[in-house]
Symmetry: D2
Subunit: 262 residues, 4 copies
């Protein structure tokens, strides 16, 4: 059967990335307590394609994924990407894995337990011409509550507050756990969120948020300070975005720190 992807292409245009996107697959991620967490990944995989080849054998991406049997941890991403690069005979390879991740939390007063969901991603790039060959970014999005300092300062009672999302992206020398980034964002917002809060917890969360007003700018800066102080982290980006409760649009602030891979 003809292998048309292997045909010669004479347009002299190299392809930066050719691959697949938006593939859902069952995966298992190792959590800090050393247990496998079963979740659902949304996956992108790609390679570069030299100018003289017509097409990419897209099915090979899925074959590699099937071989992994769903076990994907940051520790193995280097070898996964090397495998991709070898199978495709490519110079570069990319893997993007997005997944909801659950952490069991306790309500602040009743100590009632429930799971909270966090959207996470491993963004991995391999380039066989570089040292190190692997560039890995961890992304964690943490839903929190923020209470507006301006609204509190100028109002005789109350202050507008809202659900916000703190999205952190980090590059690091050694492993940073998802749980660690979640703790940082939740500590620096006006309040963390919980799936389950009893009345005594609701009182605690309301009063605690009122005593900790934070602009989007404040949250971004405070998280940035914490990431900057972590010797493992070599680069980070923090974005804090508020679903404003007085507007139908969002407010946000972004801080970038450290040296991006050049």
């Amino acid at each position: 059967m003809r292998d048309i992807q292997n045909d010669h292409d004479d347009r002299q245009i190299p392809i930066r990335q050719a691959g697949i996107k938006n593939l859902r697959y069952p995966i298992a991620v190792l959590d800090r307590e050393n247990k496998l967490q079963h979740t659902v990944g949304t996956i992108g995989m790609s390679v570069d394609l030299p100018h003289n080849y017509k097409g990419t054998h897209m099915s090979r991406f899925v074959e590699i994924l099937v071989e992994l049997e769903g076990r994907i941890s940051p520790r193995h991403l280097g070898s996964v990407l090397k495998t991709i690069s070898k199978r495709f005979d490519s110079t570069t390879a990319h893997l993007e894995l997005r997944f909801p991740y659950f952490i069991e939390k306790q309500a602040p007063v009743s100590m009632a337990r429930s799971y909270m969901d966090y959207q996470c991603a491993f963004l991995a790039a391999y380039d066989r011409r570089r040292r190190p060959t692997l560039d890995l970014v961890l992304e964690v999005a943490v839903p929190v509550s923020t209470l507006c300092p301006c609204s509190k300062a100028i109002s005789s009672h109350g202050a507008h507050n809202q659900r916000s999302t703190v999205t952190m992206r980090t590059r690091s020398r050694s492993l940073v756990w998802i749980e660690e980034l979640v703790e940082i964002a939740e500590a620096e917002a006006s309040s963390p969120l919980f799936a389950l809060l009893k009345r005594a917890d609701e009182k605690h969360v309301t009063e605690s948020a009122y005593s900790r007003p934070r602009f989007a700018e404040d949250v971004a800066r405070a998280v940035a300070l914490r990431l900057k102080a972590d010797r493992r982290i070599t680069w980070f980006q923090v974005e804090s975005e508020n679903m404003e409760s007085i507007h139908n649009h969002n407010a946000y602030a972004t801080v970038i720190g450290g040296a991006a891979r050049t």
Copy 2:
């Protein structure tokens, strides 16, 4: 050229609805000030198909839409649906038109003007066997702010609040303006939202919301009372949904009133 849609089908299965969905088209909607508002519609159109026909001539839906030149008002929907039904020789016809609608608002203290966006829909069904032949539902979704009565009552300071959406669907004897439904929802929430608020407005909105705590249940009931009292309205559904600022999930309440078309 063969017209395969006209082929005979002998499976004895009538099609309840066959049509098109998710077509974006430029439209103009008449607003209360009698001006045409240009916006972008997302459109669905369908008809029933008797058991003995194989297929529907889907292009006819778009032809009818093109003939309308984008002018779609509730007043004309009856004749539009009659046209659809005639062209397809169908017993029933449906048209669903969703669009963002803008209303100019003034901030409460500074009186600064800006536009707020509201997601609206006309949901129209025609059945030539019924009297009246047209069934028309108007849907308007109004983003508002709600402040939690429980959180206020139990906390020594502050109260959690959040962006919420009040979605109203109404059937009526005579025309109800989108602007009227927006005013009702905004009046019955803890506070309306605005695109533009200066500092004096933010103080006003914060204090006003703190003085008007509302559960999702309260907003749904208060809006329902207003719709019930309107002699034009024969049926309604109200849903109030809060993007809780202390949870990563939403709370909601639904009230239904009047006699649905039977």
Copy 3:
């Protein structure tokens, strides 16, 4: 601490549904091979609220969910809903659980194995005044391929085809497996989809789809015939929707059969 939800409400407006929406939670679903499949649920839960109560104790929904420890199967939904109704002292209760579900499939020629994802839902309603008290709808959405019969009939070569979704909702006397509905939809489309196809498989899938042209109407009817013939199934709705490869809008057809719960 004051329990403001228990306050008396004198507006004489009963709440049809009050509850939570869009809660993500780790769940385990029993599959046909009798193994637990770990996946991620998006959950809604609600109850009715009599006219004389002000509010609902929303945290109780999450407490019940936590007690289930993520094990949710159609067999247990009756007792789950009864529990909800008792805890809230409500007349009715609803639970809506949406989740991606994975089935291992084999490519038609190479027999290569991979997982395909299907969006599923359990839509359960309880009413203590009815017999039986539980109304359960299973929803399964199956992505397939459809090839246009008209395009094939009138063109000298080729035929436009596209990714489509067949969404089935069923009520049944006894358990219908997700796997059974998936098999029906895949058998009646122009072709099933696969995550992994080698070149020999791609040839097979292309030729097989070309030999089985199907309108959206055809797929909806053929699936309806199969569901109608199943003695367990008492009601169904089938919708087949094509992401047309010649348009930027979708075409669809819906068939409803059996007696809906009245």
Copy 4:
């Protein structure tokens, strides 16, 4: 009233971008035929914030937008961004404007007219320390049809095809019209899409696509060649993404050309 945003911040962390996101506003865009096209914008605006200021006065973004009265064209973006930078006394300013844009097209045989929708964006960045101070990227996403060359080559009949999206981003010395980029993408795919096609058109489109098989890689390269040959264009990125009709995931290819702004 206290202006808490003006408070001093001593954390030594500058904010890269602080602003608003996801604001919907009615806008009018100039089209190639020199007419104003009314559409709906989704808008983001931001500035940098020096390390010693606590917060940004977010309402000023909306004030500037209101002053524009919805008239936003690439020609004016330089002065709009300069205004933002002056009002905020910032070094940099960003404006991101996304909108659906409609072009009237004629079916290839019947010449029937209808509008097609294209998602477009102006991505504008201002930096007062640079020359030129304005960096403007135009983004246009064009839905097209692609037919798989491999599937055609190996199959005895037919070939799988699907709806695809070609997304182009360009920087240019002088104005490039949205209409020009749309024409390039539609010319280099297997076929353009249309809202309205009669049977003779459907035959034409089917046969024409069958005679022009294109991988995602082919489309990306062919569009890249056209953009490279345009003397006005100094940088571009092309991404072609197929909603594969044989998979439930997408295939894509990206080409980047020219010198990015450094």
